[in-house]
C-alpha cells in the first residue's frame, strides 16, 4: 500500500498540532505537587519520561484517526468497497517492534529509579508508623520510643518508615514526597523518604479502611537538623520524666 506525500504532510501536521495541544495540557496544568523528596525527584523523572512517550503515541493515533475520518468518508451515494488491503508485513513488524522497544525503555528507567529509591542510608532516622481506624501514630525508637501524632522529619536525612496496622489495611501517602506504601496488619512494611526541604504537609490514608477513611490525616513537618534534634530530645525527655 502506497502512501502519497501529500497525505504524509497532512498527517504530520495534524500530529504536531495534537502533540502541541497535549504538551500544553501537560505543561500548563499544575499536575504534580511540589517535589519535596529525593525519591520523589526520581519518580517525577519516570513520570515525565513516560508522559513524553505517551504524547508521541497519542499524537500518532490521533493524526491517523482524524485524517482517515475526514479523508476517507464515503459520499452518501457511494456503495463501493475499498481496496482489498490485507496487511503489510513491514508495517506490522514496525508496529510490533517499536512499541516493544519503547516499553522496554520505560521498564529500564523505572527499574533504575525503583532500585535507587530502595537503597538505605546508614545514618537514617527510623520511625515506627502504626495505622488504625482512623488515626496515625508515629514512634521514634532511636529516641527512647516516644510516640507522636505528628510525623516530624529532618531535612536531608533519610527516614525509614516501618509501617503496620492494627485492624485493617491502610496506606501511607504524602503527595509531596510521592512515596506510598500500605500498612498491613500482621506485617511490617518499609518506606524510605529523604525530605529535601522544610515545610508542612499532610499524610493521608490511601486504602479504603472503613467509615473514617476520608478523615484519616496527620500533619507531617520537615525541620532543619538542629530544630529536629531539639524537638526529638524534648519529646524523649518528656517520656522519661
Amino acid at each position: 500500500m502506497t502512501v502519497r506525500r501529500g497525505s504524509i504532510v497532512r498527517l504530520v501536521t495534524i500530529g504536531l498540532l495534537v502533540g502541541a495541544g497535549a504538551t500544553a495540557v501537560a505543561l500548563f496544568i499544575h499536575w504534580l505537587p511540589t517535589d519535596a523528596s529525593k525519591e520523589g525527584g526520581r519518580i517525577d523523572f519516570v513520570v515525565w519520561f513516560t508522559v513524553a512517550i505517551c504524547i508521541g503515541i497519542f499524537s500518532l493515533v490521533a493524526a491517523v484517526s482524524i485524517y482517515s475520518v475526514i479523508k476517507f468518508r464515503a459520499p452518501p451515494d457511494d456503495d463501493s468497497d475499498g481496496p482489498p488491503i490485507h496487511g503489510h508485513t513491514g508495517l506490522e513488524i514496525a508496529w510490533t517492534a517499536v512499541p516493544a522497544i519503547l516499553v522496554t525503555a520505560i521498564a529500564i528507567v523505572s527499574a533504575i529509579a525503583l532500585a535507587e529509591n530502595g537503597k538505605w542510608k546508614a545514618n537514617r532516622l527510623k520511625v515506627d508508623v502504626t495505622a488504625q481506624q482512623f488515626a496515625w501514630h508515629f514512634a521514634y525508637p532511636q529516641y527512647g520510643g516516644f510516640t507522636s501524632h505528628e510525623l516530624r522529619l529532618e531535612e536531608g536525612r533519610q527516614v525509614e518508615l516501618r509501617l503496620t496496622a492494627l485492624d485493617v489495611i491502610h496506606s501511607f501517602w504524602v503527595p509531596e514526597f510521592r512515596q506510598k506504601q500500605d500498612a498491613v496488619p500482621g506485617l511490617v512494611t518499609h518506606l524510605g523518604i529523604t525530605p529535601t526541604k522544610t515545610g508542612r504537609h499532610t499524610v493521608i490514608c490511601t486504602e479504603l479502611c472503613g467509615l473514617g477513611h476520608a478523615l484519616m490525616r496527620s500533619p507531617v513537618i520537615v525541620m532543619k537538623k538542629a530544630d529536629f534534634e531539639r524537638w526529638a530530645r524534648s519529646q524523649k525527655k518528656g517520656t522519661e520524666s
Binding site: 500500500m1 482517515s68 468518508r73 490485507h86 521498564a107 486504602e207
Partner: protein, 612 residues
C-alpha cells in the same frame, strides 16, 4: 419453590445448630446466608423449570421428546420464561444488563452529587461507601461481563452457521442466574449495617470485619460467576465443534476469535474470585483464619487470589469488545481487517499474558518487593499486542469508504478513548509512577477510560450494529448519533479531569476531600449528570425503534458474515440450509469473493456454468 427452599435452608441451619448445641440457634446471619443466599435461589431456578430436564434424567424417568415449546419467541411473554433459543437468551441478557447498568449509573450520579462540594451533603459515610461499592459490582458483574455474553450469545451461533449453542438448556440456566446475582447485590442495602462497603475489591480484613452486607457481595459474585463460567463453557464447545463446513479457525470472524479467547479466560480465572470470596465469607461466618492475622492468617493472600481473577476479568471485559470493533470497522470501512492473522494471534497473546500481570494491582501493597519488577515487565509487554490491534484498526480505515453510522462512531470513539486509557495504563505499569498515583483519582480515570470508553462504547457499537438483526427493525440513526456525541462529550468532561486531581493528590474512595479539589469536583459532578442524561437518548431510541422502527432488511450493512445472510430477525432455527464456507469473512473489495455459499445456490451456479 423459592420459599420452600428457604425453609429447607432454615431447617438445615437451625437443626444442625440445635443438635450441636451452638447458641443462639436462631443465628439470623447464617440462616439468611444458607436459606436466602444459597437455597432460595436454587428453589427459584427449580421453580421456573430450569432443572426439569436434568432432574427427570437423574431420577430415571423416560426422556420426553423435545417439542421445542420452550424454544423461540412468538410473543413478549416468551422473554420472561426459561427459553432455550440463543436469540431469546441474548436479548434477555441485554435487557437485564441494561437495567443493571442504569441502576449502577444512578448510584454513580448519587455519589457524584455528594462529591460536588467538600463536606458531607446528604449521605453518611456508610451510605457513600456502599454506593461506590455496589456501583462498581453492578457495572462489572451485572453489566459489562454479561452484556458481552448476551451479544455473543445472540450473534456467535449465527456467525458460525450453527442452529443454536451446543447446550441450549445450560444457556437458559446461565441467563437466569443473573437476576439472582443482581437482586442479591442490590438487596444488600437492606441488611442491617448497610450495603457492602469495602469496594468491589472487598479487601480482607475490612471485608471480613466490616458490616454483614459484605456477605451479599461474597455470594452475589458466586451466582454471577457461575453464570459466566457456564456461558463460557457453552461458547467453547459451540465454537470448537459446531462451525459450518469450511469454516476453519482462520476463516472465523474476529468476534468468534474474541469470544473464544474470552471464554478461556473465564473458565480458567473465575474460580479464583469464587475462592477468594468464599474465604472471606468463611472467615466471617465460620471463624476460619485465612486472613485473620491474629491467628497466623495472611491478609495479602486475599489480594493475590482476588487479582489473579480480577486482572483477567478486565480482559474478559474488553476482548469481546475488540471483536465487535473488528466486525464494525471492517464492514463500515468496506475493507478487509488489516493483518487478520496478527489480530487473532494478539487476542491469544493477551489471553496468555493476562495471567501474568495480576500483581500490578499490588505494587504498594507490601507484597514481596522483588515481585514488582517482573510484574512491571509483563504489564508493559501487554501493551504490544494491544497496540497491534489499535494500529490494525486504524490501518483498516485507511483508504476505506467510511460509513460513519452510529455503530462506526462508537467503534472509532472506542479506539481513541481506549488508547487514552491504555496510555494511562502504561503510566500505571511503571512502578515508580504507580507509587505516586496508586489509589488516587488517576486510577479512577484510567479504569473509566478503558471500561466506559472501551467496553461500554463497544457494547453500544454492537447493540446498534446488530439491532436490526435482533429486532427486525432499524433504530433511529439521528438519535443514535445524538446519543454518541452527548455521551462522548459528557464522558470526557467527567473523567479526563480525574487524571489531574489524582496526580495532584486526591485519593479514591473518599466521601470527602481537601477543599483545594472543590473546583474540579464540581465540574466533574455536573459533567456526570450530563453523561447520565445522554443514556436516556439511547433507552428512548431502543424502546421506540423496537416498537415502531422501519422494518429492517436481512443485510442493511452489506456485511459478508453469516448472521447477515438470513432474515432479520432470523428463522427460529437460524439457517434453512447449512452454509458452506468458501473464504475469509472480510473479503471486501475482492471481486467475486464469497465468505459463504448456500449449497442449493452453489449447485445452481454449477449447473448454470455447465449449461451449453
Amino acid at each position: 419453590m423459592t420459599a420452600l427452599f428457604f425453609g429447607i435452608g432454615f431447617g438445615i441451619v437451625t437443626g444442625l445448630r440445635a443438635l450441636a448445641g451452638w447458641h443462639p440457634v436462631l443465628d439470623w446471619l447464617i440462616i439468611v446466608t444458607v436459606g436466602g443466599l444459597i437455597m432460595a435461589p436454587i428453589g427459584f431456578l427449580a421453580g421456573i423449570g430450569g432443572f426439569d430436564y436434568w432432574t427427570r434424567y437423574a431420577l430415571g424417568f423416560p426422556t420426553r421428546g423435545e417439542d421445542h415449546s420452550g424454544h423461540g419467541a412468538r410473543s413478549w411473554r416468551d422473554y420472561f420464561r426459561v427459553n432455550t433459543d440463543h436469540k431469546v437468551i441474548g436479548i434477555q441478557y441485554l435487557v437485564t444488563t441494561i437495567i443493571f447498568f442504569l441502576a449502577g449509573g444512578l448510584m454513580a450520579m448519587i455519589f457524584r452529587a455528594e462529591l460536588a462540594k467538600p463536606g458531607m451533603q446528604f449521605l453518611d459515610n456508610q451510605e457513600y461507601n456502599g454506593f461506590i461499592s455496589v456501583h462498581a459490582a453492578l457495572m462489572i458483574f451485572l453489566f459489562v461481563i454479561p452484556a458481552f455474553a448476551g451479544l455473543g450469545n445472540f450473534v456467535i451461533p449465527l456467525m458460525i452457521g450453527a442452529p443454536d449453542m451446543a447446550f441450549p438448556r445450560l444457556n437458559a440456566l446461565s441467563y437466569w442466574l443473573l437476576p439472582i446475582a443482581g437482586i442479591m447485590m442490590l438487596s444488600s442495602v437492606a441488611v442491617p449495617g448497610g450495603a457492602f462497603g469495602a469496594g468491589w475489591t472487598g479487601y480482607a480484613p475490612l471485608s471480613v470485619v466490616g458490616t454483614n452486607g459484605n456477605v451479599w457481595f461474597n455470594m452475589g459474585v458466586q451466582w454471577a460467576g457461575a453464570s459466566s463460567i457456564m456461558t463460557a463453557l457453552n461458547f467453547l464447545v459451540t465454537i470448537i465443534t459446531m462451525r459450518a463446513p469450511g469454516m476453519t479457525f482462520w476463516r472465523m470472524p474476529l468476534l468468534v476469535w474474541a469470544n473464544f479467547t474470552t471464554s478461556l479466560l473465564v473458565v480458567l480465572a473465575t474460580p479464583f474470585i469464587a475462592g477468594s470470596q468464599f474465604f472471606v465469607m468463611f472467615d466471617r461466618l465460620m471463624h476460619t483464619n485465612f486472613f485473620n492475622f491474629h491467628a497466623g492468617g495472611y491478609p495479602l493472600g486475599y489480594q493475590h487470589i482476588f487479582w489473579f481473577y480480577s486482572h483477567p476479568a478486565v480482559y474478559i471485559m474488553m476482548l469481546p469488545g475488540f471483536g465487535i470493533a473488528s466486525e464494525v470497522i471492517s464492514v463500515m470501512s468496506r475493507k478487509p481487517i488489516f493483518g487478520y492473522r496478527l489480530m487473532a494471534l494478539s487476542l491469544c497473546a493477551i489471553l496468555v499474558l493476562g495471567f501474568s500481570v495480576w500483581a500490578h494491582h499490588m505494587f504498594v501493597s507490601g507484597m514481596a518487593s522483588w515481585l514488582r519488577v517482573p510484574m512491571m515487565v509483563t504489564t508493559l509487554m501487554i501493551a504490544v499486542p494491544t497496540g497491534i490491534k489499535v494500529f490494525s484498526w486504524l490501518a483498516t480505515t485507511w483508504e476505506g469508504r467510511l460509513n460513519l453510522s452510529t455503530p462506526m462512531l462508537f467503534a472509532l470513539g472506542f479506539v481513541s478513548m481506549f488508547v487514552i486509557g491504555g496510555l494511562s495504563g502504561i503510566m500505571l505499569g511503571a512502578v515508580p509512577a504507580d507509587i505516586h498515583v496508586s489509589d488516587t483519582y488517576f486510577v479512577v480515570a484510567h479504569i473509566h477510560y478503558v471500561l466506559l470508553g472501551g467496553s461500554l462504547f463497544t457494547i453500544f457499537a454492537g447493540i446498534y450494529y446488530w439491532f436490526p438483526k435482533m429486532t427486525g427493525r432499524m433504530y433511529d440513526e439521528r438519535l443514535g448519533k445524538l446519543h454518541f456525541w452527548l455521551t462522548f462529550v459528557g464522558f470526557n468532561a467527567t473523567f479526563f479531569p480525574m487524571h489531574i486531581i489524582g496526580v495532584q493528590g486526591m485519593p479514591r474512595r473518599v466521601s470527602d476531600y481537601d477543599p483545594r479539589f472543590a473546583g474540579w469536583n464540581m465540574f466533574i459532578s455536573i459533567s456526570s449528570f450530563a453523561l447520565g442524561a445522554s443514556f436516556m437518548v439511547f433507552v428512548y431510541n431502543m424502546v421506540v425503534s423496537w416498537r415502531r422502527g422501519e422494518p429492517a432488511p436481512a443485510n442493511p450493512w452489506r456485511s459478508m458474515t453469516l448472521e447477515w445472510q438470513v432474515s432479520s430477525p432470523p428463522p427460529i432455527f437460524n439457517f434453512d440450509e447449512i452454509p458452506q464456507i468458501v473464504g475469509g469473512p472480510y473479503e471486501y473489495g475482492v471481486p467475486g469473493a464469497r465468505h459463504a455459499v448456500f449449497n442449493g445456490a452453489r449447485e445452481r451456479e454449477l449447473e448454470e456454468a455447465r449449461a451449453p
